[in-house]
Structures are given as C-alpha cells and as structure tokens.
Amino acid sequence: MPHRDVMHGSRAVAEAVRLCDVKVVAAYPITPQTHIVEDIAEMVANGELDAEYIMVESEHSAMSACIGASATGARSFTATASQGLALMHEVLWIASGLRLPIVMVNANRALSAPINIWNDQSDSIAERDSGWIQIYVETAQEALDSVIQAYRIAEDAEVLLPAMVCMDGFVLTHTVEPVEVPDREQVREYLPELRMPHTLDPENPVTMGSLGDPNYYMECRKQQELAMERALEVARRADEEFRRVFGRGYGVVEEYNMEDAEVVLVTMGSVAGTIKDTIDMLGDESVGLLRLRLFRPFPKEAVRRALANAKVVNVIEKDVSIGMGEGALMTELKSVLYGSDIKVLGTVAGLGGRDITTEHIRQAVERAQRALRGERVDEVAWAGLKEEAV
C-alpha cells in the first residue's frame, strides 16, 4: 500500500531507488547529496534493498562503476552535486555514448571558486550537451516520482539514454515535506525489468566502447540525437501513465495561471513554488508561470504552445553563461521563440544560494510589465545583487 510520511527530499529519493529495485549503487559523498546515498546504504545494510553498494574513491569512479554495471544490464544509480558532477564530466559522455540507462540525482549546488556549498543550477546546466536527459523538479514528491519516471524513460527501447534528475540542493534535499511513498508492486508494474539490446555477457561476447572512427562517429551521434527526440514523447507518455497508476503527474512543462497571461515567468526547479505564491499574492490574471520540467530533450513545441498568447517572458534562472551575459535557459528560449513577437527578458537569480524572495519575483514581473507597456528595460537583471559590493 502507498503510505504518506514526512521526510527530507533526500530520503524521498532513497525511497524511489528502493522502489525501483536498483541493482547497483556506486557513490561518493558530497554536500548536499550525501544524505541520499547514506539512506540507500542503510537500506542495503538492512536488507530493504537487494543491491550491490560500491564505495568508490571519487565521483569519476562512481560514474565509471555505474557504466560498467549498467553495461551488464543491471539497473544502476548514483547521486552527486557540483564539483562531483564536474569531475564526472568526461564519463558522462561515455555513459550517454554507450547508451546506458543510468539514473543519477544531482543535488544542484554552485561550483567553486569561491567555494560555496549552496544551491544554484550552474553544475547541471554545464552538462546540458553531455547527452543526458535532464529533469528539474519542484518538490520532494516530484523528486521521488521523477526518479521512477526517469528509469522508465531512460530504459525505454526507443530511448536508452542516461537520465539526470536535478533537485535544488538544501532547498529540496534538506527540507522536510509530506511525501507519498508509492506501493512497491505498483512501481514494479509501472517499471518493467530492464532489457537492453546488448549487454556484457561472457556467454554472448560483444565489444562495447569500440573505436568510432571518422567513418561512423557522426552516425552514432545522430542516433543519440534521434533517441533524445523520441525521449520527449516517451517522457510525456511515462508521465501520463504515471498519473494513471499513481494519481499524480506533472507534464513535461507545467503551466500556472497561464490562461490569460501576457507576462510569463519561465523557470526550472524549486523556485517555481515561490513564483506561484507571488502570482497568488498579486492576484493578477495577466501574470503566469511556465515551469520547464524537462530541459533535455528541450520541449520546444510544448513551450511554443504554452507561450502562444504571451507578450513578454522573463526567465528566472539560477545559472549564468559568463561572457554571454545571461543564463542558458534564456538563450535557449530565445532560440525556440525565434521569429515570434514575444519579448524575452532574463533574471539571473539565486547564484550560490542567494535567497530568491517574493520581492525579487515581483520586480521581475514589474520589469516585464514595463516592457509590455513599451518602456525600455534592462534585458537581463541580477536579482538581489549588492551593486555596491561588485
């Protein structure tokens, strides 16, 4: 039976890993992710999860161990954050290039220097081109549900790509929320056993990680791109099916107060909660929120559809592409909306754990409204920046 409990977001992720009958977990501790793999270690020690738990000497090794395990056909999991994800960088490409459906939770945290353990999303945004599916979640419940969905999407025969579930460090990992933990049998029904076209098996020898010389490398990359395109529809169906089985779903994008919205805030992750509250406080039907849950594959059509009646968009994001002067999501949104009359503004916010308040959201709305009235406004603003300290 499903049961309701109050727990940290990190515990919710561990529960999902248990429910998915993950076979191999390779992990290295890093704040703010450590609770996740600690909880999983406890589950393995208590016999609640029948998995091989590999303690490794670095995140590079954690991902490498997951690659080896996944290549044998074993459902594999790891979790990391920030510098840990950065250290995995080169192996992330191997996991996706080998088309291994590993699922990883990234507890979003700022990158050094200066050293900072708090939340922003620069770490996973920096890995956007690594061939991993990326899902950004708003709540602990969504983190749990998204891990289950991530396996279903990643392991689909039409996809076979690794998936990263990104949850804001501390804001979600260390916050206690009521969470419904699904029934194990129901999860087994939703998530069939992993079947891969090729696995490492001494009875049927194959070569994985072979040379892809200039004659074939491009074809492999194109296959990955096509798989990523198919993942969009698979993700949509996986969420619909999830809703049917468990009674809740999220969509690949979430629309809030969008029916008559001319000004739309666009974001990813937990700050959507603050934005929804601000919209409620404003009580203004002309202000809506579009939350992207899926960042890779980028849900281009769903975004265009959702913004069909929007006039001005303000992208609130916890990352900045230094030298471009704006965040990656803003750049991508402009690309997706190219040729439309929608004005795109950006708000860089919450870097290194700086609080994003309802006042910052209000300012972002006001700037968009001024632009709507034809006033000149800054294209990009940094929310809560201490100008005098720069």
Partner: protein, 86 residues
C-alpha cells in the same frame, strides 16, 4: 550498413575484416638467407602478424603497422625496414 547502437560490436573476431596495414610507413622485408629460425620476430610482433611457414617467416602486410620491433629484435639483422612506396 546500419551502425549498431553505441557502435556495439556483436560478432567476435570481426576486427579481422578491418585491414589496418594501411597505417604503415615502413614495411619489414625478410632476408631469408640471414634467418636462423630463432623465432624472435614471431615472439615480439605485437600484432601477431608474423607466421612461420615451411621454415620461413612471413609478414601479413594486411595487419603489419610497420612498428619495426621485429627488425629491432632480429639478432642477425635479417629483417630490413623499407619505406613503403605506392
């Protein structure tokens, strides 16, 4: 020909069909009259492309990459590395 997912090779030994001799700059030429049948070239060849046939050592030029280890190891200098000219 469709490339397998992730370029996975499912047929053992299929690399034999991928002739790699074209990488070579110098090719080994065996001067049989100086060969004392010690087998050093056969032992040291990292590509296993030297074979002994009726007391003579022959190089499989489809796979020899011209590294010259055989010539270097030959105690009687019976193997000479000669520039490939095509």
């Amino acid at each position: 020909m469709k490339v397998n997912i992730a370029a996975c090779i499912t047929e053992p030994g299929s690399s034999e069909r991928n002739k790699t001799g074209g990488w070579r700059v110098f090719k080994p030429v065996v001067h049989q009259e100086r060969c004392i049948d010690c087998g050093s070239c056969w032992i040291f060849c990292p590509e296993a492309c030297i074979s002994r046939k009726e007391g003579r050592y022959e190089v499989d030029l489809d796979f020899c990459k011209g590294c010259g280890i055989c010539a270097n190891e030959c105690p009687t200098e019976a193997i000479e590395m000669v520039l490939e000219e095509k």
